[in-house]
């Protein structure tokens, strides 16, 4: 058995992707539950898909590269330390934050304002935390997620910036793609991408999947 795995080792992949799908499914379930209780609305979740993408493919999966996107970058600490980048559509987030503030009898002004930024950090934190805890539970390792750093900008800029420390070694990334929808509202779906950014801990995960 190999000592280290890389996402570039193609022949290991199908089995690992199946296992990671399992983890992603639990994570997305956690995220949908948390979101539903936060917004006090029914949330439907679709089965997540797991991909290995090049940078350019990640950008394309998120739609147009100039789409204004909300990104949250979290540091995960613990034995599977890593970074998670969560990308959400600007329009969706704006609507959610407006709803959220309204439920607290606060006025929504702009996603760039103080109150909105703080609500946004909380929302992103909840979502990244949902995935991190699923990952931790699956591998029976406690993982802690830092409050995410938030940036609202062109998707390509966010993705390349977050990925940059990995790109010395690899040209590909692990991406979990999920979509959810709030049931009682329009059919509008929230797609989100979660990108796993640390190939060292990814190699650890792959090793554990194999064991």
């Amino acid at each position: 058995m190999a000592d280290s795995y890389s996402i570039n080792d193609r022949h290991h992949l199908p089995k690992f992707i199946d296992m990671l799908k399992e983890v992603a499914n639990i994570g997305a379930g956690n995220a949908a539950t948390a979101l539903s209780s936060l917004l006090d609305k029914k949330v439907n979740m679709h089965v997540p898909s797991v991909h290995i993408y090049t940078y350019q493919e990640v950008v394309e999966a998120n739609g147009n590269d100039e789409n204004v996107t909300v990104g949250g970058l979290s540091q995960v600490s613990g034995s599977l330390s890593s970074q998670l980048l969560l990308l959400l559509s600007y329009q969706n987030v704006e609507r959610w934050i407006a709803d959220l503030l309204q439920s607290q009898n606060e006025m929504f002004s702009s996603l760039y304002d103080h109150m909105e930024q703080s609500a946004l950090a909380e929302l992103m934190n909840m979502l990244t935390g949902a995935y991190a805890s699923a990952l931790g539970d699956f591998f029976e390792e406690p993982l802690f997620c830092s409050l995410p750093a938030i940036s609202i900008d062109m998707s390509a800029a966010l993705i390349s910036d977050a990925c940059i420390t990995q790109s010395y070694d690899y040209d590909e990334l692990l991406v979990i793609q999920t979509s959810m929808e709030i049931v009682e509202e329009s059919k509008e779906e929230l797609c989100h991408l979660l990108i796993f950014l640390d190939n060292h801990s990814l190699s650890e995960i792959l090793k554990r999947c194999d064991g």
């Binding site: 609202i152 800029a157 966010l158 993705i159 790109s167």
Partner: protein, 164 residues
Amino acid sequence: MNTSEVVKVGIADCHIVQAPQLIRTSGLGSCVGVVLYDQKKKIAGLVHIMLPDSSLAKSKVFNPAKFADSGIKHLYDELIKSGAHRISIMAKYAGGAHMFKFSSGQDVIRIGERNIATTERILKNLQVEVTGKDVGGHCGRTIEFNPENGKMMVKTVNQGVTYI
């Protein structure tokens, strides 16, 4: 209005165009988009680099367009092969921002600043005059260069469009 063909350059990618074509790259974060052009011949090349230094690449075989040092030299050589005159080559570049600020102050290495510094150094070594730049800050940029007039459009989400 303007129906010129626009050639798109992806992340860690490099292309050369001839007027009336335009050349564009989208969503530069800490990456830097470097344009080298020959105004008389009306040709221009653009490289979208991600990292400063190719000596840090783990594998021997790497994509030169990914790094500032190898990418700019590669573009320079290709531009000359396409007919540019060494002495007329000039440069414009943009990018090198810092997108995510952690409240703990525990920032990821400031790659953007290092990309800018390496870009400056390589252009100086090649004795290429820099005629315009828009770097640093905290916003993503899209750039589009027109070899016909040597103007570079810089677009950001919050500040709109400027020309340098």
